[in-house]
Point group: none
Chain length 154, copies 4
DNA sequence: AATGAATGAGACTTCATTCAT
DNA sequence: CATGAATGAAGTCTCATTCAT
């Protein structure tokens, strides 16, 4: 999966032959197909692993007892830091996922929805208790900042 | 080129057979190859057309005699509007271009650099004459806002 | 298609690589796939051609104004003769078609049904007008004789 | 071997992966290869088992002290009955064996020859002592009737 | 200029078979 | 004896590109 991430980041999914992934990983294609039924399956598992990691870290922060303002700061920082920490992973992760198979597309969307939903809840909590301004649509705020962050990372 | 944009947006460059573009355009592959030497050439011309349009509109605004603040507003608005006006084009345009061929990559980078350079100049002008705050790195400001805008558009 | 018939007869469908058919036909695999979308498609067309020929000849006899007894004789003779005339074709044709794809299977069954139905009608006509014995189930008679003939041919 | 027969009957030899046979039999491929050196070997043993059974039953009848006419009747009946009793086995058994490996091919031919030889001997005995008509080529009679029977069975 | 059949390299995937454990 | 991961050759099919007409 490491090899796959690196190559998908560098050349894109379609432009990366399975053979090359296998070589980079030091296995034969046969062996690779022993563990991943399909090239797409490999992609799916890569995404799942990345998303699970990101979600877990976010939830740990959200469930902590930091003040709201610091929670949000920590969450955004985590995105920036993890992006920088593994650029290949980030490149794959923030790829226009509508180009990928419908299966991956739907999976990413679902995860993303959950992620945004949780962050939105935090902001709304802040708006209610006066920590944050309440005169801006929450969704817009979320999208705008994440968008900016992602773009910076890449 | 219209057909190519639509298909590249929907399925990605690698996943779009030349044959399909030709069919969608109502020509034969032979005819298509008469005008574009290569599939990649077609992509290059698509990018050039899109970039030329965007740059021209930006420069018209920058060279106008609007007040600085309104110039920047108009430029950003133009990005948002043109994104919305032709989503397929936008999807192709804001694709991670490092995945495309080195040739396209370099072309896009060069154009992008020029575009940012011009916008940065406007901001710096504003910072000098007191229109804008001067305590933020200009580059960061540019990237952050364009990043946010792009992300919103898609 | 000639090349395909020969090879399918000699080695069976599964055991015949597309490459080999193309070579035998003196074309490239690419060209072959230009005309037949799939290896299975090629098989389907081979069957259709064979069945159309056989049915046409049978119907010509059935619609002629020969006496009934001679019609049946001619039909059976035609099966024997065409079997001998092109053994490769016969080998493919009388293969256990349930092993082939469901699509071919169903097509062959449908044709076969039509063929048997026509022959059965002739026999029944003969039974009604006293030309043939009427104390044997028609279906059994048809199956028995065709079975014998096919087996002899192969 | 049971599993193999079922699958060979249903999908054909070439279209049946060893893995699937092993799974159906509830063993691992490794274990299967412990008992059969080759996929083809498995096929050979399947055929041998089927042929041995059929030949033994035939010889028991031929060596009995039934009258000739009843012997032949019993032999044909046995073919019909055993065909019906295990259709999967019959499907494999009456497959166009020239498609199988030369080794199996030759084995089947040899057995078949022996079988036919014995039956032919019975018929000739009957022709000499006047039980059967002697104005038909024996070989043709044998082939014709077995062919019909096989075809009916399948 | 247009056509579209042909090319052939290369992609994904399967599978009989082996072998260290 | 059994396991099942690993091997790698081979198979089907796709597709960018060419070229005679």
């Amino acid at each position: 999966m490491r090899a796959a991430i690196t190559l998908f980041a560098r050349k894109g999914f379609d432009a990366t032959p399975v053979r090359e992934i296998a070589d980079a990983a030091g296995v034969t294609t046969g062996a690779l197909y022993h563990y991943f039924a399909t090239k797409e399956d490999l992609l799916v598992e890569v995404y799942q692993q990345m998303q699970a990691g990101q979600r877990l870290r976010m939830e740990a922060i959200a469930d902590s007892d930091l003040p709201l303002r610091e929670k949000l700061h920590a969450i955004i920082s985590d995105v920036v830091e993890s992006t920088i920490a593994d650029l290949d992973e980030a490149v794959v992760f923030f790829q226009p996922f509508h180009l990928l198979s419908p299966r991956v597309h739907e999976m990413v969307r679902a995860e993303r929805r959950g992620y945004h939903y949780r962050v939105k809840a935090l902001i709304e909590e802040g708006q209610r208790d006066g920590t944050f301004r309440a005169d801006v649509p929450t969704t817009l705020a979320v999208s705008y900042h994440f968008g900016a962050v992602h773009q910076l990372g890449l």
